[in-house]
C-alpha cells in the first residue's frame, strides 16, 4: 500500500503515516500552547497596567504609527494565507506553485520586519526607549513609559518569532523545491505553517492593543 517514498518517512514506532502525522500535529499544538502561555503572561501584564493607567495607555497608543501597524496586519494575514495556499498546491502536486507561495510568504514576513524596524527607528528619534532609558518629552509619565516598555517587550518577542518564521518558510520552500516535501508527505510544511499562523494570531491581538485602542 505505502510507496517506497512513504516507507522511508515512516518511523518504526508508528503503525502508519496517518498515526505518525496525527502525533506530529498533536505535538505541534502542545508546543503552540506553551508559546501561547508565554505571550499570555505578557498580555495579562498589559491588562493589569492598562487598568492602572487607562488615560496614559490611550495617549501612548495614539503615538504608535497606525498606518504602519495596519499595513503590517494586512501583510501578516496575507502571508498566512499564502502559506495555507502552498499546502493546498502541494496536495494537488503543484510543487512549483507551492515554492512560489512559500517564497512570497517569506518575503512578506521580511517586509513586516522592515516596517517594524522603521517604526522602532521612528520611536528612537522621539526618545522612546524601553525602561530606564525612556526619555520622551512629548509623553512624560510612568504610564507611557510602562506602555512603551511593554510595547518593546511584546512586539520585540513577536518580531523574533517572525524572524524565526521567515527562516523556516525559506527552508520549507527549499525542501519543496528539492522534492523532499510532496503530495504524499508534507508534515513539515503543515507544522511549519501552523507555527506561522500562530505568529499571525499573536499579531492579531498586538495590533488592537498597541495601535487601535487610542
Amino acid at each position: 500500500m505505502a510507496s517506497a517514498g512513504q516507507a522511508t518517512r515512516l518511523e518504526p514506532h508508528f503503525q502508519d503515516l496517518a498515526k505518525q502525522t496525527h502525533a506530529a500535529r498533536l505535538g505541534m499544538w502542545v508546543f503552540i500552547g506553551s508559546e501561547a502561555l508565554l505571550f499570555s503572561a505578557l498580555f495579562a501584564l498589559y491588562a493589569a497596567y492598562r487598568v492602572a493607567y487607562p488615560g496614559a495607555f490611550e495617549d501612548a497608543a495614539g503615538h504608535t504609527n497606525l498606518a504602519l501597524g495596519t499595513i503590517m496586519t494586512a501583510v501578516l494575514l496575507t502571508s498566512s494565507f499564502l502559506v495555507a495556499m502552498s499546502l493546498g498546491r502541494i496536495r494537488r502536486r503543484l510543487a512549483r506553485d507551492a515554492v512560489l507561495f512559500l517564497a512570497g510568504a517569506a518575503v512578506l514576513g521580511a517586509t513586516f520586519l522592515v516596517l517594524k524596524g522603521m517604526e522602532y527607528a521612528e520611536h528612537f528619534r522621539d526618545g522612546i526607549y524601553p525602561g530606564v532609558w525612556y526619555r520622551a518629552s512629548a509623553l512624560p509619565g510612568q504610564g507611557a513609559n510602562i506602555f512603551f516598555t511593554l510595547y518593546y517587550a511584546m512586539t520585540g518577542l513577536h518580531a523574533l518569532h517572525v524572524l524565526g518564521g521567515v527562516l523556516l518558510l525559506a527552508w520549507l520552500a527549499w525542501l519543496v523545491r528539492r522534492g523532499r516535501i510532496d503530495d504524499a508527505y508534507h508534515t513539515p510544511l503543515e507544522l511549519g505553517g501552523m507555527y506561522w499562523h500562530f505568529v499571525d494570531v499573536v499579531w492579531v491581538f498586538l495590533w488592537p492593543l498597541f495601535y487601535l485602542l487610542r
Binding site: 496517518a18 496525527h22 500535529r25 498533536l26 499544538w29 502542545v30 500552547g33 501561547a36 502561555l37 499570555s40 503572561a41 498580555f43 495579562a44 501584564l45 491588562a47 493589569a48 492598562r50 487598568v51 492602572a52 495596519t70 496586519t73 494586512a74 494575514l77 496575507t78 498566512s80 494565507f81 502559506v83 495555507a84 495556499m85 499546502l87 493546498g88 498546491r89 496536495r91 503543515e190 505553517g193 501552523m194 499562523h197 500562530f198 499571525d200 494570531v201 492579531v204 491581538f205 495590533w207 488592537p208 492593543l209 487601535l212 485602542l213 487610542r214
Partner: protein, 102 residues
Amino acid sequence: MDASRITERTYWRTWIALMALAAATFGLSFLDLGMLHVPVALLIAGAKATLIALFFMHLVQERGSIPIAVGIWFLLLAILIALTAADVLTRDVMLRPPASGP
C-alpha cells in the same frame, strides 16, 4: 483527520473574512464606543484568531486528542487572564475598610 478535506476555496474565503474583520476593527477604532471600545476590539481579534485556528491551522477537522489539548490550554489561558483581571479590578474594593455590621 486527513487535512485534504479543506480546499483552497476555504483558504480564500478565510482570507477575505480576515481582511474584512481587520477593516471593521480599524473603522470601529475611530468611533467613540466608550466602555465597549476594548471588548469590541478584543472580540473581533478573537474572531480572527478563531478563523485562523479553524481553517488555516485545520483545527476544524481534528478529532480526538488534539481538540482536548487545545481546549485545555485555552482554559488555562482563560484562568490566567481572568484571575489577573479579578485582582486588578477589585483592588479598590478590597483596600476599603469592611462595612460595619447592622
